[in-house]
């Protein structure tokens, strides 16, 4: 009997348990929102400084075009385009750095040292330098976001490549794959569990960095994405809009987590190279 068939009876139980887990979590979130709504309505809270949850939702929906001008989409795209561009650059850089590290001992040490140096540094600390070098431009944002993403991605890719089974590498040699063939057909897919986890961490760092950098840009009056929108809402005392922006940052962050989980379920978890 295959392992697949053996696992079948477990699926029902784990499925039911997952539904309960989700229901419980949803209940926690709904309770939090209810407490927020009631506390502001019943308590002596200045709604100009701390709006009700319902006001924030109305503001969010209005910004998305449900009963108002759909201005939020532009800000969302602005932020997403910066982070997606940075993500692509980071992945390419990480693959190049890891490839060098795999063939050269010096490059491996270089990557090890530089990752160790930059990993603990919040890359937002580089923003003043980036503004000095690139001005208040998109390039400054991309620079700091790349600096926050590339190290965790490169680091996990290096660890992932180093832990690829020697038998699979020998298999690649046996079937006469060259360096590029081995990288693309053996190393990358085999290192995918580590790579996805690196991309996830990298995305998390990048997402925080881009919003923070936009807030700084916002304080200087330049146009920008969601961070800028949040800061602008503060300037005009549209606090509900500011909270809507914060909610949006959380929602997009969670949506990206779901995308990574979906990719994992369709790839590494399905292949059994990563525990479900």
């Amino acid at each position: 009997m295959s392992a697949h068939q053996t696992h079948a009876p477990l699926t029902f139980g784990s499925g039911v348990s997952a539904v309960f887990d989700r229901s419980r979590r949803l209940l926690v979130v709904l309770t939090m929102f209810a407490i927020w709504e009631l506390a502001v309505r019943l308590g002596d809270v200045n709604t100009l400084l701390f709006p009700t949850f319902s006001a924030v939702v109305v503001s969010l929906l209005s910004g998305l075009g449900f009963g108002g001008r759909p201005e939020l989409w532009g800000y969302i795209w602005q932020t997403l385009s910066v982070i997606l561009q940075s993500f692509a650059i980071s992945i390419v850089l990480a693959i190049i750095l890891t490839s060098f590290a795999l063939v050269s001992r010096f490059a491996k040490d270089f990557l090890y040292v530089i990752t160790g140096m930059f990993q603990p540094l919040p890359s937002i600390a580089l923003l003043p330098m980036a503004i000095l070098w690139f001005g208040f431009t998109r390039e400054s944002l991309v620079f700091v976001v790349v600096m926050s993403m590339v190290w965790p991605v490169a680091s996990s890719l290096t660890v992932g490549s180093a832990t690829v089974s020697r038998t699979l590498v020998s298999l690649g040699r046996n079937y006469e794959l060259g360096a590029v063939g081995t990288l693309l057909q053996i190393m990358l897919p085999a290192a995918l569990p580590m790579l996805i986890s690196g991309l996830r961490v990298g995305w998390g760092f990048g997402w925080r960095t881009v919003v923070a950098a936009e807030l700084v840009f916002g304080s200087t009056g330049s146009s920008g994405g969601i961070g800028w929108y949040i800061n602008n809402s503060r300037l005009f005392m549209n606090v509900a809009d500011g909270f809507a922006g914060i909610l949006l940052v959380i929602i997009i962050g969670l949506a990206m987590e779901s995308v990574f989980l979906f990719i994992q379920k369709k790839t590494t978890m399905r292949w059994g190279t990563e525990a479900a």
Binding site: S2, A3, T167, L168, L171, Y175, E176, T267, W271
Partner: protein, 297 residues
């Protein structure tokens, strides 16, 4: 151990000269010629091969693993390399695969020296994790065929893969990923992929070594069956330390000495594919065990 009709036929399929040599088992003791007369076309020629490892700081210490091994392997022959653990049999196979260099002698396949791994010499490893985990059983087999025949039409690749998957008894698991297969099924898939790539010689490094006894016996019988059902019989070099496995599978059995490995004897095997209770099978097993005991002692 149960014999199948297929594996008995397999013994009879050996060509005239081989059958002649297989009437009685002849033990060539070290120093005697290792090339039986009137054999078929030589595919692999190993002459006075030595292999050494270097260890220690600066890699100054040289440890000989294999010394002065000479043997020819004929087309369509299954040669078993038998010896105690650590005798260098896997090292010899890895060298034949081109994965490690030899330090002396010559090693040729079809007259060309072995210098690097090649699809002419496909390896089946002992490790269950030799399948690409991101591909299904069929896709793994198709991958091997495509690598070997990049210009083959997709339809032909699919058909050849389907045939090999069916031959190893994995039709029901054809669309499953390796993580859902048992150890034996994984090895079957690896064998299907290797046969499908039609190498000049298949190198098998104790592929059933990590299986339980029942599965190991089944796989041994099935290897004989798969080998006999190929369009043209594949040449196989098979490493094992299991005497019964050697007698069941090998047309000839090369016994190696305890490390550093030398050729202790080359045995003609008349009992290939026969049931374990066959008198000749049992006699040869006993003879080989005696040889191995002398080595270990």
């Amino acid at each position: 151990m149960v014999s199948t009709q297929g594996s008995i036929v397999d013994a009879r399929r050996i060509g005239g000269p081989m059958r002649q040599a297989a009437r009685s088992h002849v033990i060539h003791i070290e120093g005697a010629t290792t090339q039986a007369p009137n054999r078929g076309e030589v595919v692999v020629s190993i002459e006075h091969v030595s292999i050494s490892y270097t260890v220690g700081s600066g890699k100054r210490k040289v440890i000989p693993a294999v010394e002065d091994v000479s043997v020819d392997i004929q087309r369509g022959e299954k040669l078993i390399i038998l010896g105690p653990s650590g005798c260098g049999k896997s090292t010899l196979l890895m060298a034949l695969g081109g994965f490690i260099p030899i330090s002396g002698g010559t090693m040729k396949v079809n007259g060309r020296p072995v210098s690097r791994p090649s699809m002419e010499r496909i390896m089946v490893f002992q490790d269950f994790n030799q399948l690409l985990p991101w591909m299904t059983v069929t896709e793994n087999v198709q991958w091997g065929i495509r690598k070997r025949n990049p210009k083959m039409k997709a339809e032909e690749v699919r058909e050849r893969a389907r045939r090999q998957v069916e031959l190893v008894g994995l039709s029901r698991q054809a669309d499953q990923f390796p993580n859902t297969l048992s150890g034996g099924q994984k090895q079957r898939c690896a064998i299907a992929r290797s046969f499908a790539a039609t190498p000049e010689i298949l190198l098998m490094d104790e592929p059933f070594g990590a299986l339980d006894a029942i599965n190991r016996e089944r796989m041994q019988q099935e290897l004989n069956k798969i080998w006999s059902e190929q369009e043209s019989p594949t040449t196989i070099a098979f490493v094992t330390h299991d005497v019964a496995e050697a007698v069941l599978l090998g047309h000839r059995i090369m016994v190696m000495t305890n490390g550093p490995g030398r050729v202790r004897a080359i045995v003609e095997n008349p009992a290939v594919g026969r049931p374990a209770d066959d008198p000749e099978f049992m006699q040869l097993c006993a003879d080989l065990r005696e040889l191995l005991k002398e080595e270990i002692a």
